[in-house]
């Protein structure tokens, strides 16, 4: 009586023209990164003394963290509230989170002037508990570990009884199999600890990411600067979890030629008006409370970007998700999810970290260097490439017959 099918590896051809296109973009991105590691940030970015953070922090890091929120929000639903009908979306969301955070790490590494000092975060003698960035760094590091542990059951499931190493390594097939079985039994008992830990760590650093810019009240535009930024970052991250799952699941299913599980996705979408609604309420309340709403119609670059963000990114998807007709229609559901993911959250993070940031001694704005953009595109292409490879090897995607 399976309303949901079984997750199993995708059997479609891997090396399609799309795959090669992604590979080329990835190689370009990696080349730029290597050049930057050798010759400095200034050679490939438009960052300077006035604008120390740019596209990489706004997109690769801040948006990367937010858009990986599907991992902890689906784990919460399926494994903490035990809503088992959502099991099918947990694995793709977990994979997205795992890859997403891996790329957040890579993004941070690329943006660090002294990237080779990144391990300093692990030295207790250097820990600086007053720093919001310290908290973000610690939690991201720990959560990434948790995500890899949460992914291990897929590895054991795939390879137990099927370990078949090539050549001389074949002699250790049995020991490897035994190890996998031990890992499976251990994980079976302990995984709930990691599931809860994942949710706690996520709440902690999603909000701390919002704390980062509160230290710069004189530079961040009043439409975004708020002592409640941490709360708004947390709420918008919680709210983006399910839209991201819908967005990504529908996209992936389409590209693999699989049928969407509209029943599960529509059910999931029923939760979204409440989560986006709460975020919207806090956002509006904050604007009124601080009196910042007077800037909304300034017709400046900032005010216009803010309007795009809140009208198309928050209010429109909020209203759309509220209608059963939208939730049951694949096209409309995808549109609503894409609007919130791209305009509501991705644009919000870019707005907070890039658009809103106005140093007071400059007359110009930061515009990313073309190579900066190409590196970000390259990293995203590499992420999608790895996603494609992993769903081919491991049982991630559920097939609905």
């Amino acid at each position: 009586m399976s309303t949901h099918g079984h997750a199993r590896p995708i059997s479609k051809k891997l090396l399609t023209p799309g795959f090669y296109a992604m590979a080329v973009l990835s190689i370009i991105g990696i080349t730029i990164a290597l050049y930057r590691f050798a010759f400095g940030m200034g050679t490939v970015t438009n960052l300077d003394n006035n604008y120390p953070w740019g596209l990489w922090i706004g997109v690769d890091v801040a948006s990367g963290v937010a858009l990986a929120a599907g991992g902890f929000t689906t784990a919460f639903l399926a494994h903490i509230l035990h809503r088992h009908k959502y099991e099918t979306i947990v694995r793709p969301a977990l994979l997205t989170a795992m890859l997403g955070y891996t790329f957040v790490g890579l993004g941070v590494f690329t943006d660090l002037g002294k990237y080779y000092n990144i391990w300093h975060l692990m030295l207790p003698s250097m820990w600086q508990f007053n720093s919001a960035l310290f908290e973000v760094g610690m939690c991201v590091m720990m959560y990434l570990t948790v995500l890899y542990i949460e992914f291990l059951p897929l590895v054991t499931e795939r390879f137990i009884g099927r370990v078949d190493l090539p050549g001389i390594l074949a002699t250790i097939n049995k020991p490897v199999d035994a190890c996998l079985r031990i890992a499976q039994r251990t994980l079976d008992k302990l995984i709930f600890v990691f599931v809860i830990l994942g949710v706690v760590l996520s709440c902690a650093h999603q909000s701390s990411l919002g704390t980062l810019l509160t230290i710069a009240p004189y530079k961040v535009h009043p439409l975004w600067w708020s002592p409640f930024l941490p709360l708004m970052f947390l709420l918008s991250a919680i709210a983006v979890g399910y839209p991201m799952v819908i967005f990504e699941s529908m996209w992936a299913h389409k590209s693999f030629g699989l049928k969407n599980d509209m029943q599960t996705l529509s059910a999931l979408a029923r939760i979204i008006p409440f989560t986006i609604g709460l975020y919207l309420a806090v956002k509006i309340g904050d604007l009124i409370y601080r009196g910042a709403y007077i800037h909304i119609f300034d017709n400046s670059k900032q005010s216009n970007m803010f309007l795009v963000e809140i009208v198309f990114g928050v209010i429109t998807p909020f209203l759309m998700f509220a209608f059963a007709r939208v939730r049951k229609d694949a096209r409309l559901l995808f549109t609503a999810a894409a609007l919130y993911v791209l305009c509501g959250v991705l644009l919000n993070r870019v707005n907070v970290f890039v658009v809103s940031y106005q140093p007071q001694f400059t007359g110009y704005s930061y515009v990313p260097h073309p190579l900066e953009v190409l590196l970000t595109i390259g990293y995203i292409a590499l992420l999608m490439l790895l996603y494609r490879v992993i769903v081919t090897i491991f049982p991630v995607i559920t097939h609905h017959e």
């Binding site: 997750a7 494994h79 760094g137 079976d188 902690a204 002592p227 601080r290 001694f361």
Partner: protein, 315 residues
């Protein structure tokens, strides 16, 4: 000069926000040590714009060659900021009271008593010394540049064109000299003694005295006495600071808000542990939820259902 703008509302927001987040705890660090620390005082009314201080700073810190020579008065044509090649610059402004005459301001790191850069740095590469100067530690730094985001005076500069060992560049108040009982290079070369070095407390007293004795020469404002919680580099001037490129900043140090949030959220780790407990309890209480639709399978992890917790907790 388009320096100051849109700040009133923001400050209102800042004040309100601080109230909302809760009582800000008395902090440790900065101002404890400022009591006995050193400071610098720039008397803008005395400065003649000779740029000897720029030259002395350049020499003692072995900085790269400047773009324009220190004797070139042409640099005054435009407003300059500190860069990775210079810790301090002198700018020229029009006198408000004496038609046609200039006033000169020297700018550099303000060595805040409660520095935002120190609070921001995740590995403690920036430290407020007990002597007063705020220093950067090359060995600890990861190059994240959050200090540059945090600095309300927009002081730290960065060596963006170095792949290996790029540095955060800012005035050190000549810490090596100060530690040996000397005085900073800029103060020692100033021909008109517009830059003074000494115990911060004495400098503040001196500044107050000057203003009191010469109300015609100074406005009644010691810049840095209260700005962002007080700075160890202070200024007295013949005209409003806003006319000379100084920002209007609230007396609240930016880290007070962020640290209140950080320490509120992580107080003794109680909130995260509490959240962990609540989630664990929820997990336990709802474990039979929806069981009926799953009983036929989902008995092991390998069912296509994902890392299945239910099986783990049951049994």
């Amino acid at each position: 000069m388009t320096v100051s703008r849109r700040n009133f509302l923001k400050l209102m927001g800042l004040a309100a926000g601080t109230l909302a987040v809760g009582r800000v705890q008395a902090h440790t660090g900065g101002s404890d040590t400022a009591e006995g620390g050193f400071g610098m005082l720039t008397d803008i009314s005395l400065c003649i714009g000779c740029r000897s201080c720029e030259q002395a700073c350049h020499d003692i810190n072995a900085m790269p060659e400047p773009d324009e020579p220190f004797t070139d008065p042409g640099v005054f044509k435009k407003y300059r900021r500190m860069t990775e090649k210079t810790y301090t610059v002198v700018n020229k402004f029009n006198s408000v009271y004496k038609e046609g005459l200039p006033v000169y301001t020297k700018i550099q790191c303000m060595h805040c008593q409660d520095p935002a850069c120190v609070s921001a740095c995740l590995v403690g590469a920036l430290q407020k010394t007990k002597e007063g100067p705020v220093l950067w530690d090359s060995w600890k730094c990861m190059g994240c540049r959050y200090c540059m985001i945090a600095c309300p005076f927009e002081v730290p500069a960065y060596e963006y064109h170095k792949g290996i060992e790029p540095r955060v560049m800012k005035c050190t108040m000549c810490y090596p000299l100060v530690k040996q009982g000397g005085i900073p290079a800029c103060a020692s070369v100033c021909p008109v003694e517009a830059i003074k070095f000494g115990p911060k407390k004495e400098l503040l007293g001196y500044a107050r005295e000057r203003i009191k004795q010469h109300p015609d020469r100074y406005i009644n404002h010691i810049y840095g006495e209260h700005e962002v919680g007080g700075t160890d580099w202070i200024y007295i001037a013949p005209q409003d600071f806003a006319t000379m490129g100084f920002l209007s900043l609230s007396p609240e140090a930016p880290p007070r808000l962020t640290e209140a949030i950080q320490h509120g959220v992580f107080k003794y780790f109680i909130p995260p542990v509490l959240l962990f407990g609540v989630l664990g309890l929820t997990m336990f209480l709802t474990k039979n939820n929806g069981g009926e639709q799953n009983d036929s399978h989902h008995t092991s992890l390998g069912d296509g259902g994902g890392p299945h917790v239910k099986g783990a907790v049951k049994k």
